[in-house]
């Protein structure tokens, strides 16, 4: 059921007024939610949005019951009031002994939603009926967005952006170091209220588009995705806004292209896709990058261990002599496959050469590196024995891990601290001492 090229083109170029409105509305919502969500995310208020959005339901239903009207601003006002009440309830419950934040959020979202459903079942039986318009608050109905709705979203998004930019510095301080902010006389409570107000505004206008169950996703997922790419708050905020916009745009476009795709859910899935890509592929914090980093570190460590083992064996033999592969294998906890793999790499890098069918020797360049490793190892061992007061029999393990990361300046300092000249210090382990 793939769309024709014509539909495809018309949708992407926003030729239809309806598509234009929906895409513009969801994109702007995505930007606002991503930006304000960044602060909420860093302040660990992410799930507060969940309680908030569920708590809007009784307000919507109550307004309808009381005024009998589906006038949108009025419904949004009701949603705001009961949403704020829900947030206050979470904050109040959290102060009761024995009630933790997670429980407070769960209590508020389920009880308020229950209350909303009770009121809803009354709405369904009222003569004025037609609760259909109200049900869009639960699942959202972006596809039926009117120009007026898009304007409301645009206005809110604009206000949220202005507020976020104006208070950017203050938000940054309370996100990262609340105690410091407090000690500097920053009105943390007022700023918290301002931040929550921005979250509430975004959530309430998001209800219509993605529904109250999923609107929290727009507050959480884009910031969480943006966090993988950067440590800089300004950049993270921009990226989160961009991810939100991208999700809103692609979700609305996809559901315009294909029949029977609920827009809100597709927007959330697009955001989820952006999150997945970020989590896997981000350059530094991404999972793939960190797996690769660990893998190459492991390879480097194995390689350096091989060289050091050879240097130690030469030292024991009192001169350059080939070492048997069997002896190497016994020396460390290597499996045969691991050992052969690391030998292959060392041979390729010309640090080691075969000296017979089953024996290895260090090349000249290999010996330089191997000696350096051995020296680092011994220096660290001696340092631990002398300054950390660790028994000589215990230092080998520790040095085994540290020798690979000792930088030139640290080695310099170790030399000074230990009064060690350029030579290799002797081993502190008697069994390894060269046989004389």
């Amino acid at each position: 059921m793939s769309p024709s090229w014509d539909t495809f083109f018309r949708t992407l170029s926003l030729a239809d007024h309806n598509t234009r409105v929906v895409v513009a509305g969801t994109t702007m919502l995505g930007i606002a939610a991503g930006v304000v969500g960044t602060f909420a995310y860093l302040r660990r208020r992410a799930l507060m949005g969940d309680a908030l959005s569920h708590a809007t339901l009784p307000g919507v239903a109550a307004v309808f019951i009381i005024f009998g009207s589906k006038h949108l601003p009025l419904l949004l006002l009701g949603a705001t009031l009961s949403g704020v009440l829900g947030v206050l309830a979470v904050l109040g419950l959290r102060r009761v002994p024995r009630i933790k934040e997670d429980a407070a959020i769960g209590i508020v979202l389920s009880v308020f939603f229950g209350a909303g459903m009770v009121l809803f079942s009354i709405v369904q039986q009222m003569r004025t009926g037609q609760e259909a318009g109200l049900l869009t608050f639960i699942y959202g109905k972006a596809a039926a967005m009117l120009t007026r709705d898009a304007w409301i979203i645009a206005g809110t998004a604009g206000a949220v952006l202005v507020g976020s930019i104006a208070l950017f510095k203050e938000f940054r301080v309370i996100c990262f170091d609340q105690d410091f902010a407090q000690s500097q006389g920053t009105p943390v409570f007022v700023l918290d209220v301002a931040m929550m107000a921005l979250v509430v505004m975004t959530t309430v206008v998001g209800l219509q588009a993605v529904g109250l169950i999923l609107v929290v996703a727009l507050l959480i997922i884009p910031p969480a995705a943006a966090r993988f790419w950067t440590d800089d708050l300004a950049l993270m905020t921009v990226l989160a806004g961009a991810f939100g916009a991208l999700s809103g745009w692609s979700g609305a476009t996809l559901s315009a292209l294909m029949p029977r795709l609920p827009t809100g859910a597709v927007i959330v899935l697009c955001a989820g896709g952006a999150f997945l890509v970020s989590m896997l592929g981000a350059p530094h914090r991404g999972v793939i990058a960190s797996v690769l980093r660990q893998w190459s570190l492991r390879r480097k460590i194995a390689y350096q261990h091989l060289l050091r083992a050879l240097a130690e064996m030469e030292e024991a033999a009192l001169g350059p002599a080939p070492a048997g592969v069997g002896a190497l294998e016994r020396r460390r906890g290597w499996t045969r496959r691991q050992l052969h793999e690391v030998i292959r790499r060392a041979v390729r890098r010309e640090a080691v050469a075969w000296a017979g069918p089953d024996a290895l020797r260090l090349t000249a360049s290999g010996r330089v590196e191997a000696t350096r490793m051995l020296r680092n190892h011994r220096l660290w061992e001696m340092y631990l024995i002398k300054y950390a007061d660790i028994a000589p029999s215990r230092v080998d393990r520790d040095a085994d891990e540290v020798e690979h990361v000792l930088s030139e300046p640290i080695v310099r300092e170790l030399e000074q601290a230990l009064d060690a000249a350029r030579a290799i210090p002797p081993s502190p382990h008697p069994q390894e001492a060269p046989a004389t």
């Binding site: 009630i99 429980a103 009770v118």
Partner: protein, 439 residues
């Protein structure tokens, strides 16, 4: 729907509500104590795609595939949340938010795409269909949903009963559990699986919102009432069942009582009643309720202000022995602060015959009052002496500490202090420490 009670229908609704509430509340204790309450929220949303896939594959609403799909989705939620938290270094709450919203969205899309072929309504998952339960296909007189819930309830009771020790230790002290050879991870996943099973069994009858409410609210309420896990578990089940029964009653008869001619959703009403019960608990719980804590605070403040007044009178007399023993009320209030608590304190001291109103006006200590005041002043000065002796505190600072400590020093502690200081006659400021009196 203000119909009269009808056991053949309402009885089954009651049974379903009570069983589901009990099953959820029992497991919820461990979620709440582990600070993972929202895992219940996450799982109950995230089972949707599992149910949808089970529908799409089998094209039926039969129990086993649904259970399998739901449990698989629940397990996926738990694993995915942990993976996002661990590998993505996302904080746990946000990791859960990402996971469950994406899974729920996936469920919505699947259901919508398959709307032609399957009769599955996301509404049903959210808030169930408890009011229709009596009409669903019945086996041996009992509706399927009730039988499923009974089995799940029994399974949860069995699980908690068999692994009570393991659950308790791994909940309160995961490190100890690990050192005892109990895998906290296995317990975690077992709990998550059971929560998923309970959610799936409940969704048909009561919906996920009630599941969340029942997982969290009764255990939190029970925790306000007791510290003992052995009491908290059955108490939470009883509270959940009470909420279910009361909620059903409120849904059926509440609107009529209010003169409104509408019926309301039973499951939603149960959640509201549970919330109301919690609100009452938050205020009225015997020890931790707001009211009893406030009362406790008041009583403490009153005791302190009374003792301050007694001490004031004694010291006044000590400083100005010539001026007689009585002080006018206004002077007392000026010294301790003119609050209603202080006025009340004076009145109650007179009532307790520790102060009296002599003929010449003002207030003076009775024998009993003087004895209590002397004990208090003795506590104060002994404490000052003790601080000066054992701690390197400047002399002008010991008074503030003693001012607070005097109200909490018992006669027994005074004896200890006296012995420690080898019966000092005077405090560091050179004032006499009154001797201990009997009574």
């Amino acid at each position: 729907m203000n119909a009269a009670w009808d056991w053949s229908m309402d009885g089954w609704i009651l049974a379903a509500g009570v069983l589901s509430a009990g099953a959820c509340a029992l497991l919820g204790n461990f979620l709440v104590l582990r600070r993972m309450s929202l895992m219940g929220d996450a799982i109950s949303h995230a089972v949707l795609p599992g149910l949808a896939i089970a529908f799409l594959v089998t094209q039926s609403r039969s129990a086993w595939p649904m259970l399998l799909g739901g449990v698989a989705a629940g397990a996926v939620t738990a694993v995915m949340t942990e993976a996002v938290h661990k590998f993505g270094k996302v904080e746990p709450g946000a990791a859960m938010g990402v996971t469950f919203s994406v899974l729920f969205a996936l469920g919505l899309v699947l259901i919508r795409r398959a709307a032609d072929s399957v009769d599955l309504d996301p509404d049903c998952v959210l808030y169930g269909n408890l009011d229709q339960i009596g009409f669903e296909g019945a086996v041996g007189g009992a509706p399927h949903a009730v039988i499923h819930l009974a089995v799940v309830f029994a399974a949860n009771v069995l699980f908690v009963g068999l692994f009570y020790k393991e659950l308790r230790i791994s909940t309160f002290d995961p490190e100890l559990a690990t050192s005892l050879g109990i895998s906290a991870r296995v317990m975690h996943y077992a709990l998550m699986i059971l929560v998923s099973v309970t959610t799936v069994a409940s969704f048909e009858a009561v919906g996920s919102i009630l599941v969340i409410a029942m997982l969290i609210v009764p255990p939190v309420l029970a925790h306000l009432l007791t510290d003992r896990l052995g009491v908290m578990l059955p108490l939470s089940v009883a509270l959940g069942a009470t909420a279910a029964a009361a909620g059903q009653w409120a849904a059926q008869y509440g609107p009529g009582q209010l003169g409104i001619d509408y019926s309301v959703k039973t499951a939603a009403m149960i959640a509201v009643v549970a919330g109301a019960m919690l609100a009452v608990g938050v205020f009225l719980a015997p020890q931790r309720g707001l009211v009893s804590r406030a009362v406790h605070q008041w009583r403490l403040s009153l005791t302190i202000v009374r003792e301050d007044i007694l001490g004031l009178l004694l010291r006044w007399h000590e400083l100005r022995p010539a001026e007689g023993r009585a002080i006018v009320r206004e002077d007392i209030l000026a010294a301790v602060g003119d609050t209603w608590m202080a006025r009340w304190g004076i009145r109650s001291l007179v009532r307790r015959r520790e102060l009296r109103l002599p003929v010449g006006g003002g207030l003076e200590l009775t024998r009993g009052g003087e004895s209590r005041a002397a004990g208090l002043v003795r506590s104060h000065r002994l404490w000052e002496a003790y601080l000066a002796e054992h701690f390197d505190i400047p002399l002008d600072h010991v008074h503030f500490s003693a001012e607070r400590a005097e109200h909490f020093i018992t006669p027994q502690l005074r004896r200890e202090l006296d012995r420690d200081l080898t019966a000092p006659g005077v405090d560091p400021h050179g004032r006499e420490i009154p001797p201990e009196r009997e009574g």
